[in-house]
Symmetry: C2
Amino acid sequence: MSASSRKPAVAPAPRGRVTVREVAKAAGVSMITVSRVINTPQQVSPATLERVHAAIDALGYVPNLMAGALRLSRSHLVMVLVPSVAGSLFAGMLTALTESLGAKGYQLMVGQSGYDMPREDALLRAIIGRRPDGLVLTGVMHSPQGRQLLQASGIPIVETWDTTATPIDMLLSVSHQEIGAAVSRYLFEAGKTRQAVLSGDDERARLRADSYVRTAIELGLPEPVVLHLPAPTTHAQGREGLRALQRTGRDVDGVFCTSDLMAAGVITEAMAQGLAVPGQLAVIGFGDMDFAASMSPSITSVHVDGAAIGAKAAEMIAARANGQRPAKAVVEIGFRIAARESA
Amino acid sequence: MSASSRKPAVAPAPRGRVTVREVAKAAGVSMITVSRVINTPQQVSPATLERVHAAIDALGYVPNLMAGALRLSRSHLVMVLVPSVAGSLFAGMLTALTESLGAKGYQLMVGQSGYDMPREDALLRAIIGRRPDGLVLTGVMHSPQGRQLLQASGIPIVETWDTTATPIDMLLSVSHQEIGAAVSRYLFEAGKTRQAVLSGDDERARLRADSYVRTAIELGLPEPVVLHLPAPTTHAQGREGLRALQRTGRDVDGVFCTSDLMAAGVITEAMAQGLAVPGQLAVIGFGDMDFAASMSPSITSVHVDGAAIGAKAAEMIAARANGQRPAKAVVEIGFRIAARESA
DNA sequence: CTGAAAGCGCTTACAG
DNA sequence: CTGAAAGCGCTTACAG
C-alpha cells in the first residue's frame, strides 16, 4: 500500500462552500477558465463567458480573496491604526482613505491602538500577520522593537499626524511643536498675556502643550498654567477644566484646548459663569470640527487637513505597491488657525 | 523529459519574506514543530522551544495569518459595516466590538457603507470574499439579492440598530418606530403640542420621524412639520433647520432632532434669537452623545446602549463560530429618554 | 517529543 | 480560446 493511498492526513475543511471547482464543473470548463472569467474576461469567448456567469450566479459563488491574496502575495488590504474610531478628529482622514483606496481597488481595515502607539508586539504581529499592502500609523513609532518589526516586514508604511527625523518608511509630517507655538503667538497678538492650556495626556497633545508653554515664556509672558486630562478629551472635561484652572488662583485670559470638544466645554462653562468670550477669556481649540464654525460664539481652532492626509497616504501606498518609489518619502502637511469669534 | 522537470509553471512570489520553512531550517527542526511552537507550545520540549524561539526572533518571523486562515477556514476576522466611521453615534458599539472581539481572539475590520444599506453587490462581495468569521450590519438588509448572497455565504450575521420580522440570521433589535412615538409622547406630556421634527434623510432617521408624526396625530395634535436634511446631520444643519422651520410660518414649541449634533445646533440658534429653551422651545436629540449631558442647557436625548450592542454582537458571533446556536437569535435592545434641561 | 504529506482555494506561464 | 500542474504559507491526524 503506497503512502499516497492513505486516508487524507487532514480532515477536510467544512464543505458546502462553493469554490472555483464547483463552478467549473457546473459550467463544463476548467478552473482556469473560471478564474479568467473573473479576472481577465476579455480572454474568454462570449459563449463561455455566458455559461460561466450563469454557473456563478446559480451557485452564488463569491471568490475567496484570501486564497487569491496568498497566491499573489497581494492582499489588496490597507490597515490604518487610529487611537480611537470614536473621536472625530481622524474622521476626515478615514473617509478620504476609504474613498481613495477604494478607487484604487484596496479595502481599508481600521484598527484601534489606544492613545499611545502600542509598545507591545501583539497588535503589530496581528497586523503584519495579515500581510496588508500598506499600513498607515497615526503618530510615529518610537519603540525600537516595533520599528524593526515593521521595517523587516517590508510593508509600505506611512506615519502621520506627527513628525520625526527618522521615519520608518514614509511620513506625512504634522508638527505639533509648530502648532503649539503658533497658538501662543496668536493669543499674544490678540493681547492675551495670561495664557493657560488644557491638554489631553496623549503624546501629541503634550507636544502641542509643551511648545505652547515654551513659546509663551519666550514671548516674555508668565509661565502658562498647564492641566493634563485623560484622552480622549470631552466637553465635560472642558467645563471642569476651566473650573480647575480657576481654582489654581491664577488669572487667565487665554486658553488653548487641545481638542474642540474641550474648547466647547470651556466656552459653555465661561458663559454659564457670565464670563465674556473672547473679551475676558479667549479660547482656541484643535481639530476644527464641523461644529466649531457653527457654535455661538464660533470657535477659533487649529485646522489640519485630514482629508489631504488620507488621500496622500493612499497615493503613496498605491505607488509603492506598484513598485514605484514616491517622489518624496516625507511630505509636510501644515496647518492653519481658523480665526473665529472665540479668540 | 518528464512533465515535472519543467521549469515551474509560475514565477515564484517575491522572496525574501521569512516563512516557517526558513525558521525550521535555522532551528534544525521540521515546519510542523515550528507551527507547534507557535500554536501548541505545551507539545514541544523546552530545549526545542528555546531553539525555535531563537530562530523566530533572529529572523523576525511573523506567521502569515491568511495562510493559516485558508488552511483552517477560520479568518479570526469580524467585519462591521457602519454608515460612517465619522459620526460618533456608533462609537460606543465599535469600541465594545473591538474589545469584546479582541478578548476572544478576533480582529475587527470596520467598513463604511454610506447612509443606506448598499444595494449593489460590490461591497458585499468584497466582504464575503474575505471570509470573515462574522459580520455586523448597521441596519437591516432589504435587498433580496443582498440577503440571499449573505445567507448563502454561511457567515454568522448580526443585523442591528433597526428591526425586522425577517432577519437574515441574528438580530439586535432597535425600534425606531417606538422611539419616535415615545419622543412625541414625552413632549406632549411636557405640554408641548405644536411639534416639529428635523430629520436626517437616512432610513432609520426617517422611521423615527414618521412614527413621531403619526403619534402626534394620534394624540390629537396638529400634524408636525417635518424637515428632511442630508445625513450625516450637523450642528450647522440644526441652526439652519430651526430658521427653515420658522420660515414655514408654523408656530412650534417642541422639536425632535434625529441627532444630538442637530439638537445642539437648534439650541444654539434658539439662544442666539433669545428664545427660551425649553420654555418657548423644547428640544430633544438622539444618540445621547457625551456632550449632551454637559452642555448648557443640557440636552434631553434618546439613549440607545451601543456598548451593549457591540458586546452582545461579539458574543453571538463567537458562539456561532464555536458551533453553538445562541440562546436567542433575536434580542431586544431598547432605549430610554435621558431627561435633561432642554425638554 | 518529532516529522511527511496532503490540502485550504486560488492564479499564471506555457502548450496546444 | 482553453487547459494541467505547481505552488502561495500554513496546519493536523497519524506514525514512530
